[in-house]
């Protein structure tokens, strides 16, 4: 029987939650990584290793790794430094593919490791793109200081990678980081922009597993869909309670089904009216349904960050999200109903799921 593992990155370390295929009863391990703030933690299916991007106020940024499903951890930051004087303040986001691990950092850049996270080298700073001079200025970093807030690999094409520069937009390389192309056509921005192709606040991009051309995007001012692998975007916000949110997840078997968690776009950035809900489309964004069975409907001012939701790949897929107030909710029926499986964790930055035989 498979083991189902949730990697929950929090402000006070990593926690691993474990269940079986039934996903009803969960055991909690942690805090791991010595309680360092963990911004994102992932499981690399190919190697069986776990990685956690963490940054200690005292001891700086590093990537922790575990080769025994989270029982023991070591850390390294060897090579995680700019040689041009720029300061690396945070490691924000991880991605593992084709024998490499990528980590996105602030100031914006991507480092790669080919030896399982023991050493790192600079992969790209996306320099030379429109707006890159501005985003390299530390004074221009947006709150959160994520830098590269997401990295996405292609399962088939090793040299193809997408990256989000926080507050700037989505970019794609097809030559392993040598050149990048902005992928923001069709996006909306409610603020002045100096460059036509950049200046979009892209929060989260996910790609359908059954159709590589289908992507969904939650950004600062709307939901969007792409049917050409990010080359262009169509807004699909209509039917949602707000245009703002961070987290998103795809259905593992259906290219048209996609989940988001709309938030109040104001300063609080919590679920509207204190009523918790996940929203699902089954028709690629033409319509949306509110999923709230099992979720609190009174006084629930819950926030969910951009890496805070994930889905597994079982035939009857499960979905999970973690909140900025330390709850983890799980659905084992495709989002129809939800259970609170952790109640009192520290503020949650990320949730990822792994299944292990």
């Amino acid at each position: 029987m498979s083991r189902t593992l949730l990697l929950v990155g929090t402000r006070k370390g990593l926690f691993v939650m474990e269940s079986d295929e039934g996903r009803r009863d969960w055991r909690l391990r942690g805090p791991l990584c010595e309680g360092w703030p963990v911004y994102h933690a992932i499981f690399d299916e190919a190697s069986g290793a776990m990685y956690a991007a963490a940054a200690s106020e005292w001891h700086g940024s590093a990537v922790w790794r575990s080769t025994d499903l989270g029982e023991t951890w070591t850390l390294s930051s060897e090579g995680l430094a700019y040689e041009d004087g720029r300061r690396l303040s945070k490691v924000s986001n991880l991605c593992a593919a084709h024998g490499r691990v990528f980590v996105g950092v602030e100031a914006p850049g991507i480092f790669a490791s080919g030896d399982g996270g023991q050493t790192w080298s600079l992969y790209s700073t996306l320099s030379g793109l429109p707006g890159s001079e501005e985003w390299d200025d530390p004074q221009n970093q947006p709150p959160g200081h994520l830098g590269i807030s997401a990295i996405m690999s292609d399962p088939d094409e090793r040299e193809r990678v997408w990256a989000i520069v926080q507050g700037v937009g989505l970019f794609e390389t097809r030559d392993d980081g040598k050149t990048w192309t902005p992928r923001n056509r069709g996006l909306r921005a409610d603020w002045p922009r100096e460059h036509e192709e950049v200046g979009f606040c892209v929060h989260k991009v996910v790609r359908a597993r059954t159709d590589g051309d289908r992507m969904f995007q939650q950004n600062h001012v709307g939901m969007h869909r792409s049917d050409d692998c990010g080359a262009s975007w169509t807004e699909i916000t209509e039917g949602l309670p707000t245009q703002f949110g961070f987290a998103a997840a795809v259905h593992p078997h259906d290219r048209d089904t996609f989940f988001v968690i709309p938030l109040d776009p104001g300063h609080g950035r919590t679920m509207p009216d204190g009523r918790a809900a996940v929203w699902r489309t089954r028709d690629a964004g033409s319509s949306w349904e509110r999923l709230d069975r099992g979720l609190p409907q009174d006084g629930a001012y819950l926030g969910v960050l951009r890496e805070g939701m994930a889905g597994d790949r079982y035939d009857d897929p499960g979905f999970y999200f973690g909140t900025s107030t330390g709850q983890v909710y799980a659905s084992a029926d495709g989002g129809d109903s939800w259970n609170e499986i952790a109640s009192y964790l520290p503020a949650i930055s990320s949730v990822e799921v792994a299944t292990v035989d």
């Binding site: 005292w58 001891h59 700086g60 060897e78």
Partner: protein
């Protein structure tokens, strides 16, 4: 030999690293280099990467005086490496 005292947040990160140890070094920087050779990566946890400076929230005191990386050590110096006590 300088009498070196390390913060409790540091020792769990490196197998076998004690809270207190003796180091024969001429400066704080040399002391960190020696510790880094025995526990690779230790210097990165205390110094900013890419620049010759202590991390913002790491303070070093030599014989109870605030020190920098180039502060010299005497044979019987006491060195306290402190992680700032703020935080929540």
């Amino acid at each position: 030999m300088a009498d070196v005292h390390l913060p409790t947040t540091l020792t769990p990160l490196f197998a076998g690293l004690p809270r207190r140890l003796d180091v024969d070094a001429g400066s704080v920087d040399e002391m960190f280099a020696q510790l880094d050779s025995r526990w690779p990566g230790l210097r990165d946890r205390l110094c900013e990467p890419g620049v010759a400076d202590l991390r913002r929230h790491i303070h070093v005191y030599v014989d109870q005086r605030r020190a920098r990386l180039d502060t010299p050590l005497e044979q019987r110096s006491r060195v306290d490496v402190i992680a700032a006590i703020s935080g929540g």
